[in-house]
Amino acid sequence: MVLNNTGYAIVKPCAQTLIQSAVDLDNLIDKIYAALIRGGWQFNSFVTNGRRLLGTSPQGLKVFLDLTKDTPFGYQTLCINLKSLITGIVSPRYVLDFRVEYSWRVISYPCGFFISRPGVHGDARGSAICGGIPRTPTNCSLDLAQGVSDVWFSFGDGLGPGVDIAANPRINIDDGVKNIFNQFGSYNGHAAPINNILRKDSPQILRLSSAGADSGTPGCHPTLITGEDIVYPAFISWPNPLQSPHIIRGQIYNAAIWSSSRQGDQAANRDGYDWISYTDAYTWGTLMLLTTTPISLGNVAF
């Protein structure tokens, strides 16, 4: 079967929350917590310095999200970890820097979330975190997903003051043009390996583009000559072990890749859905996210 005509993976509800400001870090944490709950995450328990939420995908897969306050860089900041229910594997600790003048966008649905600061490409102190459970294939070209009990991914840009930002879907969709260390995935209780040298060995969203090797000035975008995008599923992949084939672990819900380079935070409508660009100005494509609950429930990814 030649790969074609892949569908959207949809989960309801889908909520976009704009946090125009917060009076302090605790207030920001409360507002982000509320935004996640609004998207279908469930309160699970209190944990040290915060709360634990539970995300559940339509396929019944689950992941914990710990929303806490901590001092990883010597000052208090918002922290998010994802954690496997099966083996307890924990993602890196992602951070969001707090300033009174900052605003935030949170897009959430029952098994995923995308946080960013409108107009901000990236910040080493932390401005963007995303993650969740992808839809695993069940019945089509990527068939035979048997026995999947645990699969989730997470990204964040903040590696701390004085450090370059980490690769994440806010600035790139695939291999990353920035530091690694922060891309993470868990599949059936096994953590995605992290390769400190080969960025392309780390978890990423697949990109469709020229087979030619990357160059500093590529001179092309993977779009049709008409200027139209190729729209394709946001497949998340990583190898295991290192330096082995990238395996597609699933398709990110309520998302798609548009093959053109777009500015972040731009609203659009396509196929009757409301979208916003999460990726900001990446040559090879843009991760687009649903911003509203679609009227018709799709979930026809595979």
Binding site: M1, V2, L3, N4, N5, T6, G7, Y8, T136, P137, S141, L142, D143, L144, A145, V148, D174, D175, K200, D201, Q204, L206, R207, L208, S209, S210, A211, G212, A213, D214, S215, T217, P218, G219, C220, H221, P222, T223, L224, I225, T226, E228, D229, I230, V231, Y232, F235, S237, Q243, S244, P245, H246, I247, I248, R249, G250, A256, R270, D271, W284
Partner: protein, 471 residues
């Protein structure tokens, strides 16, 4: 979900493979040239004309030297010998052709020699200028190659006739599928010069790309819109699906008719170890055309490449650990956009997200059999598979019969087309399309009588041209 518009791959089911059948070895080149022609004509390519073999001889041939008999040239064993009838009897002998040289001028001697050579019927001699005579074989296509020409003048050289072959043309997608690519490949396959080499001339949009095939055994893959030559034994690894080596490939991508271009094509080739491009070019090269604008040697991300799921370090597999199958989207540099864009897809092909050694695996997809044509085993791992027309196990469905076509010569004068030769016209042609091969323009026909048609829109004026009518 939205999909690449019309780019999911069309299976033409017209593919043919001529494996181990194309020899360019010295002494076998005529047979190889004929096999290339025959393979392409088996599919849907159109025979245009034969190409006559040629040679040349040049002065001094002996004219002006009147006092002795002078053997000036030997053609296929026949010696053409000057004599002066005022002083000498015509020379005679089983292999001697006497040429009168009574005029006392070089021009007269040259004219007499050309007439004498033409009288043999083996070659036609044409005076090019006062120093040169062009010899054109009368034999059809490759039959005119290899006629021995031995110059006897002080600076004449031995130069057998060469260059004989065939001119064949691919279809236009507009005629066949109503799609957006009006280009055709006009391929001339002929012996090269000096004799012993085989030459391919790809003519696209009136521009010619030459490729001299190495002496060896080649295989050929072709379909309605693509012809691919590869020398067996030169299947080296490390080929790239965005840059090609040791082979030559002319292709018309399938262009959806809603794309804002009317034509596109490419010819990709490399020097490999033994071939050469023109005189000395030894670099890999891709010539591409978009809307008639030719771009030379733009490869990789900014030029010719295939588009697929990309990773510069690892293969990309699905969740079961199997490679992906993807449409073979083609990206070419588009001058009016200043960057490379997707212009269409490779017909009868797909991309497999792992590398498979060239020519060594038959793969079945969509009920057709495919063969690995190109691969990359580094940045963006992948293999380009193309249908080959081969049957392994279950038979491949037979190709659909090509549309019935009529060909001939006609005079075209605006809206009026008048029969000259070839197939006469029938009422069944009314409302069908005619292609005027002079400019590849396409017109709707209205039948008048067996020797007259009218054209909409009108064609060129005052033109005698080959035409092709497709029913």
């Amino acid at each position: 979900m939205s999909t690449p518009i019309g780019l999911n791959g069309i299976t033409l089911q017209s593919s043919q493979r001529a494996n181990n059948q194309i020899s360019t070895v010295l002494g076998q080149e005529n047979d190889g040239i004929d096999r290339i022609k025959d393979t392409l004509l088996k599919i849907s390519w159109k025979f245009i004309e034969d190409v006559k073999a040629t040679s040349s001889i040049f002065a001094p041939f002996g004219w002006g030297y009147l006092s002795f008999l002078s053997n000036v040239v030997t053609i296929d064993g026949t010696k053409f010998v000057f004599y002066d009838p005022a002083y000498q009897s015509p020379p005679s002998g089983p292999d001697i052709f006497p040429v009168s040289n009574a005029s006392g001028s070089s021009a007269g001697a040259q004219s007499n020699l050309a007439s004498a050579i033409s009288a043999t019927g083996l070659v036609n001699a044409t005076i090019q200028d006062d120093q040169n005579i062009i010899l054109t074989a009368t034999g059809y296509g490759t039959a005119g190659n290899g006629i021995s020409i031995i110059g006897q003048g002080s600076v004449s050289v031995t130069h057998d006739t060469a260059g004989g072959g065939w001119k064949i043309q691919s279809r236009s997608q507009t005629l066949l599928y109503g799609r957006g690519n009006t280009d055709r490949i006009l391929l001339t396959v002929r012996s090269g010069a000096p004799s012993g080499s085989t030459q391919l001339d790809f003519e696209i949009d009136g521009q010619i790309v030459n490729y001299r095939m190495a002496q060896g055994i080649w295989e050929l893959y072709a379909n309605d819109f693509s012809v691919y030559f590869r020398e067996i034994g030169q299947l080296v690894g490390g080929l790239d699906i965005y840059r090609l080596n040791t082979n030559v490939w002319g292709c018309l991508p399938l262009v959806p008719d809603n794309f804002p271009i009317s034509s596109s094509a490419f010819v990709a080739f490399g020097s490999g170890f033994l071939t050469s491009i023109g005189q000395s070019n030894s670099f890999n090269q891709v010539e591409s055309w978009v809307d008639g604008t030719r771009i030379t040697n733009a490869q990789g991300q900014g030029g010719f490449s295939l588009v697929c799921y990309h990773n510069e370090a690892e293969r990309i597999f699905d969740i079961t650990g199997q490679p992906l199958l993807q449409p073979a989207l083609l990206s070419l540099f588009v001058s009016f956009l200043g960057e490379s864009r997707i212009v269409g897809c490779i017909p009868d092909a797909f991309i497999y997200s792992d590398y498979i050694p060239i020519d060594q695996q038959v793969f079945m997809a969509d009920g057709l059999y495919y063969r690995s044509m190109e691969f990359s085993n580094s940045a963006t791992f992948g293999t380009l598979f193309m249908t080959t027309g081969e049957t392994v196990g279950n038979p491949v469905p037979p190709p659909p019969p090509p549309p019935q076509s009529f060909t001939g010569i006609a005079s075209v004068d605006g809206a009026n087309l008048t029969y000259t030769s070839g197939d006469q016209y029938t009422p069944a042609m009314d409302g069908k399309s005619v292609t005027i091969l002079f400019d590849n323009s396409i017109h709707t026909i209205h039948f008048v009588d067996p020797t007259h048609l009218t054209l909409v829109p009108p064609g060129p004026t005052g033109l005698s041209t080959s035409i092709q009518i497709t029913l």
